[in-house]
Symmetry: C2
Subunit: 222 residues, 2 copies
DNA sequence: CGGCATCCGGGAAGATACTG
DNA sequence: CAGTATCTTCCCGGATGCCG
């Protein structure tokens, strides 16, 4: 195992692709970026991956030192997968990919999206110059998943867990949140897919902090 | 064509992988980052790619708006492939990949490396804080390829062509240059694989501008 | 030779069913 | 729930051949 189908190229990018270039590999790692996950959770948040491919990718990530399998202590006693510190550093890669792809004319922002993806996208797209001296706690709830974030001029730190007394909080499904932040869909139009708590002016401000870059010209006139 | 095997995921990283996630795709694009190239040149600098795969990748890059095929004007009249402006923006991705992979314990820096890879690696690994108020012109020659670079606190701009009156110039093969910069191999030890012209103190300074990050711990004690 | 189509073998990915 | 087994499909990679 850990075949490492080689490019025989000393270029760092080539080696990175040997490590995480297989189909699904980077998306699996992405799902581990905000804390340990179970096999079934990963499968549910990676629509279209099959169980055997997920098994294989997890084994490869583990063999390469990017993820680890861990047994939660009793009484939970379930097995979870978590990213190693080096695996977490790959967030710089998903950010570069995401920022670049945001300019694609063929990007479909209405497709399904996982909670982790939305939250990571906030970190990737945050326009620090728009934050000013804002410094707020934000809570997120997607079904059984709760996350809390601290947003200020240093960035947007997000971790698993309930927010204590957030200035702002979102609950609902990840797709609706993405629609509100990136698609300009008014929150009132989302019905019960997305509910928000907090000062309305702060909500409106929050929604402006993650601007998308302009799309590339679709095609030069032939 | 342009199948775009979909991940059905609105995450930008997933869409990026749909565009450039196929095997070899990003490495082909990398080879176009410093100017147009011919089919045979690409094939020579991507050891291990087969002609039909290269043909297919180029067609996909073109269909997706990342590269274009162009006929050079007479008397050359040869066909070249060049990256589009959006394709060039993918350099941020190769940089993120390269910087991340540089920490890999399994990275083999002695493998073959293309001229473009080495030069791009300088842009990726340049430690700006070490540049100070240095502002120099650097010439590179690898066989038939000549590049000139301008290195200062703003970065390292590199383009195709002969350097007019460089403060520093390197000639030889890309692998030897990588060994000198990243492997600490003394230039005198490289024989005729690498020749350098310029103030020796400046050469020594240049070689310190591209530090590699520390490797990750190989394996936690079990 | 440069560029591209075609054929084929091997292997990875995808779908489904099955097991502890 | 967490995988494993099996089967099919598709992509990758090598070889050959055509055509400018």
């Amino acid at each position: 195992m850990a075949d490492l189908r080689s490019y025989d190229d000393a270029c760092g990018a080539a080696h990175a692709l040997e490590l995480i270039g297989e189909r699904w590999a980077l998306l699996v790692l992405r799902e581990l970026m905000l804390g340990p996950r179970r096999f079934g959770e990963l499968r549910a948040d990676l629509p279209g991956i099959s169980a055997n491919v997920l098994t294989q990718r997890l084994a490869e990530l583990e063999a390469r030192g990017l993820a680890a399998r861990r047994q939660l202590p009793p009484p939970a006693s379930v097995q979870v997968y978590e990213a190693t510190p080096w695996g977490l550093e790959a967030e710089a890669i998903t950010q570069a990919l995401g920022r670049w792809a945001a300019r694609s004319p063929r990007h479909d922002p209405t497709a399904p999206i996982s909670p982790v993806s939305v939250l990571l996208s906030f970190r990737a797209m945050l326009a620090r110059e728009r934050v000013g001296d804002l410094d707020i706690g934000v809570g997120f709830r997607f079904g059984d998943y709760a996350y809390r974030g601290r947003l200020n001029g240093d960035g947007f730190v997000i971790e698993r867990g309930e927010a204590a007394a957030p200035d702002l909080s979102f609950a609902g499904d990840a797709r609706a949140l993405a629609g509100a932040v990136y698609g300009g869909v008014p929150i009132e139009a989302q019905g019960d897919a997305l509910t928000v708590a907090g000062d309305p002016a702060l909500v409106a401000r929050f929604l402006t902090l993650f601007p998308l870059p302009p799309k590339v010209a679709t095609r030069p006139p032939c």
